[in-house]
């Protein structure tokens, strides 16, 4: 078990070092940092001085190691545009994205699981097949277009829900939450819905497939034979057995949701990390881009590693892998 742990964590660190390498390449070679920092009237001497002060004359490996050391301590330098610590900027935006992703995840489970169960037990009936078909449509709709349509329908035409921003937020220490105010809760509905649409269909299809598998299993047949009620069978016995893959999927998808939130955040002007990143792309603010890449990958890798380890704890056979 220890060997497995070491291997998994080692693997994760290796992956992060490579990601950091990409981030470093972006940071160092796309757009000369010196040219981006000085104003245009700076003399060559000033430029050279800055260059050596930033350590850009050092060897490649030395610079990379320095980048990794700083990154590990959360130091990505100053944003070229905002002149603020990149990590502070991202930290301020993290709660917004996190809340959006969490609500979207909850939505996807709350809607996806029941739908999955229904389509499984109703297999062959018109409504179940219709739902199953519409799930394909759900995977196919571009999320930005869904967002635009949601805004057009619920925000502009009906005026029920706000179509941009986070509403009123409350500070709890360094964390800012929109969930404690009515306007904040109203504001999260449309973006969370738009972000979760893809995930809902994913969960639904997974639950359906797992349910179909399990309903064919022997223990279910025995239970049926013993006269266990159908409803209890579906929701207590069968569903319980297919929750593990759903939990795994959800954990693995959090990283993807954070990345996809960039699109949602852009459409809904949601002040999260994704919008910060898109603005950094617009303004060629390389330190922010590099930091965002590292942080999102870190979340991604950490979650995946945890899932792997959790699986190994549950099922010792997997430790060999």
């Amino acid at each position: 078990m220890i060997a497995f742990l070491v291997k998994r964590v080692g693997n994760a660190i290796l992956v992060m070092l490579t990601v950091a390498f990409f981030a470093f390449l972006i940071f160092r070679f796309l757009g000369d940092p010196v040219e981006m920092m000085v104003n245009e009237s700076a003399t060559q001497v000033e430029r050279d001085e800055l260059r050596s002060r930033l350590g850009l004359n050092d060897g490649f490996l030395v610079q990379y190691l320095r980048f990794v050391t700083n990154a590990a301590q959360g130091q990505f330098g100053l944003s070229w545009r905002n002149q603020q610590n990149v990590i502070t900027l991202i930290g301020e935006r993290f709660p917004a994205t996190f809340e959006l992703v969490i609500i979207a995840t909850i939505l996807s489970l709350a809607i996806g699981i029941p739908l999955g169960v229904f389509t499984a037990i109703g297999r062959g009936r018109w409504w179940a097949e219709g739902l199953q078909f519409s799930s394909i449509v759900g995977v196919s709709l571009p999320s930005f277009f869904v967002g635009i349509i949601l805004i057009l329908a619920f925000s502009v035409s009906l005026g029920w829900l706000p179509g941009y921003g986070r509403g009123e937020v409350v500070q709890l220490g360094w964390w800012s939450t929109g969930l404690l105010t009515p306007s904040g809760r109203a504001a999260i509905v449309l973006p969370a819905l738009s972000l979760s649409l893809f995930q809902i269909t994913l969960v639904m299809r997974l639950v359906r497939a797992e349910m179909l598998e399990i309903l064919r299993a022997d223990f279910i047949k025995f239970a049926r034979a013993r006269g266990v009620k159908r409803r209890a069978l579906w929701f207590r016995h069968a569903l319980k057995n297919c929750l593990m893959p759903v939990v795994t999927l959800t954990a693995m998808q959090v990283g993807n949701l954070i990345a996809f939130a960039l699109v949602t955040e852009t459409v809904f002007q949601w002040p999260g990390m994704g919008m910060l990143f898109m603005q950094a792309v617009t303004f060629v603010d390389i330190p922010v881009m590099a930091a965002y890449l590292c942080i999102v990958s870190f979340i991604f890798v950490t979650l995946n590693t945890f899932v792997d380890i959790a699986y190994a704890v549950i099922d010792p056979r997997l430790r060999a892998a």
Partner: protein
């Protein structure tokens, strides 16, 4: 238990955080300011926003004429020395008194080699504190426009700068944050309560302001909303009270709503197109645009009326001159827009042997409907047989190319801010690129005669003669078809109907201390 405590705490905080809605003005801008430090970028919009917290020695009044602010009077004591009497009894937001030391420290910071604002005070040499409320400023030559320049040199508190190690402008290269980037201490009518970049910046009323308070705003919330459609929706829904960038295409809809008031005018900003005057194009081919006939042909190909009607929805003002009528130095005789004549354009191109040449058309995204203007112009050029290659990008992407001179043809919007004088255009855009001249002369144009007239206009203290010289330099530019003027762009602000008095400024900078809700 733990959770419930957090929740209770949250509710308590919520009660505290809920602002009184009375007197709160929510401002939905198209973009955010990049920093609270007015010396971080020479960006007119950011300087306009920060003017609510910081002030200069002088400022523009309701008619965009210079009026005293932190200075009460000034005189020219020698050709190169100005003496300013400073206002007494002015307090900074932290309670410190305003003195000549503060002015000196601020001028030093603004003129620091690392200051991006250095170009705003090109003639500044140094300053001397005479007494607590008198300061002398040295300039490099006769320079009548010093007060205009000083409108955007906002005054910091010297002690505050020193205490917070912010005496020099923030140097991104140093890797440490500047204190002034996210802290504010000015003398203005509002102070900054909180700021979250790109999300929300909150200003509250400063009770100790020296000037008579005309506004009745307690709180300003500045929220950037980049998407024009979202901005309009937010205004219609009452989520914001004011936007300084109402999209022209949405004006009919906004005007039709009883909830919204639209304020329209013409911006001082003149949109124009410039040419490379280098020997080679970016592609390496010889540059046909050095030929006057080619530049004229390109101008004749553009149908200003059509752009005005379709792209600008009739809200722009077609231009013949390179500056707006309100700008000193403007000459009505030069302001006759060129009528489109594609046939003549084709003939001229043929005559010059430049039919169908290919060039890059560098376009950014900061002007009103710039992307649409560029496509329309490119299409008009294509129709006379030219082959423009549109290079569209954000301002941050295009600016480095432009200042490095890596452009064939480019767009430019020039409002002569903050100087509000033709000299801003002639010295920065059209003068040969040398020293502090021609920083925005991206095409690399150079004309001895033009430079001579421009330089002479800078040191002429007789206002009538000076303006005549400026008109003369504009005439030279027009004769050479140096730049193609397109239009003065529309100025469209919109507020909710509840706001009573909202003065419109043609420099497109809201001055909320003059607003009554």
């Amino acid at each position: 238990m733990h959770l419930s405590r957090i929740l209770v705490g949250g509710v308590a905080l919520l009660a505290l955080a809920m602002p009184a809605t009375a007197g709160t003005l929510k401002w939905g801008a198209s973009r955010d300011i990049s920093s609270l430090d007015p010396y971080s970028y020479g960006d007119s919009f950011a300087l306009g926003v920060l003017n609510h917290a910081y002030e200069g020695l002088v400022r523009y009044d309701r008619n965009l004429k210079i009026e005293p602010a932190l200075a009460t009077s000034w005189e020219i004591v020698s050709p190169t020395t100005w003496r300013f009497k400073l206002r007494e009894g002015v307090k900074f937001h932290n309670g410190a008194d305003f003195t000549a030391e503060d002015v000196q420290a601020s001028l030093k910071r603004a003129s620091d080699p690392k200051s991006p604002l250095r170009g705003n005070i090109p003639a500044y040499k140094g300053s001397r504190v005479i007494d607590a409320h008198t300061i002398e400023i040295d300039v490099s030559a006769h320079y009548p426009l010093l007060p205009n320049d000083l409108t955007t040199i906002y005054i910091f508190d010297a002690g505050w700068l020193k205490d917070n190690n912010a005496e020099a402008p923030t140097d991104v290269g140093s890797g440490s944050e500047g204190y002034a980037t996210y802290n504010e201490n000015g003398t203005g009518p509002f102070k900054v309560e909180s700021r979250q970049p790109d999300a929300k910046t909150v200003f509250t009323k400063f009770d100790g302001w020296w000037d008579k308070t005309e506004h009745n705003i307690d709180r300003i919330e500045l929220t950037p909303i980049a998407s024009p459609a979202t901005r309009v929706a937010a205004l219609l829904a009452g989520d914001i009270d004011f936007t300084d960038q109402a999209p022209v295409q949405d004006l009919p809809r906004l005007a039709a709503s009883p909830e919204v008031k639209v304020l329209e005018g013409t911006d001082l900003r003149t949109v124009m197109i410039g040419f490379s005057q280098r020997d080679q194009l970016l592609s390496g081919a010889a540059n046909p645009m050095k030929d006057l006939r080619v530049r004229q042909a390109m101008q004749l190909a553009i149908d200003l009326d059509l752009i005005n009607k379709k792209v600008m929805r009739g809200k722009s003002r077609n231009a013949g001159a390179l500056v707006a009528p309100q700008i000193p130095g403007y000459d009505a005789a030069l302001d006759t827009p060129v009528k489109a004549d594609p046939e003549k354009a084709k003939a001229l191109l043929k005559e010059a042997g430049a039919e169908g040449f290919e060039f890059e058309f560098n376009c950014a995204d900061s002007l009103v409907n710039e992307e649409q203007i560029c496509q329309a112009v490119a299409s008009m050029w294509s129709r006379v047989g030219l082959k423009p290659k549109l290079d569209q990008g954000t301002r941050a992407v295009q600016t480095p190319k432009r200042s490095a001179g890596k452009v064939d043809v480019y767009t430019l919007g020039w409002a002569t801010l903050p100087m509000l004088d033709t000299y801003s255009l002639t010295s920065q855009v059209l003068h040969t690129k040398e020293g502090s001249f021609g920083i925005f002369n991206w095409g690399g144009w150079s004309d001895k005669e033009f430079d001579k007239v421009t330089e002479a206009s800078a040191v002429e203290l007789d206002q009538t003669k000076r303006l005549a010289m400026e008109a003369q330099s504009l005439k030279i530019a027009k004769e050479h078809a140096l730049m193609i003027p397109l239009h003065q762009q529309p100025l469209a602000w919109a507020t909710t109907a509840k706001i009573k008095d909202f003065p419109l400024f043609s420099d497109n900078l809201p001055r909320l201390w003059l607003v009554k809700m």
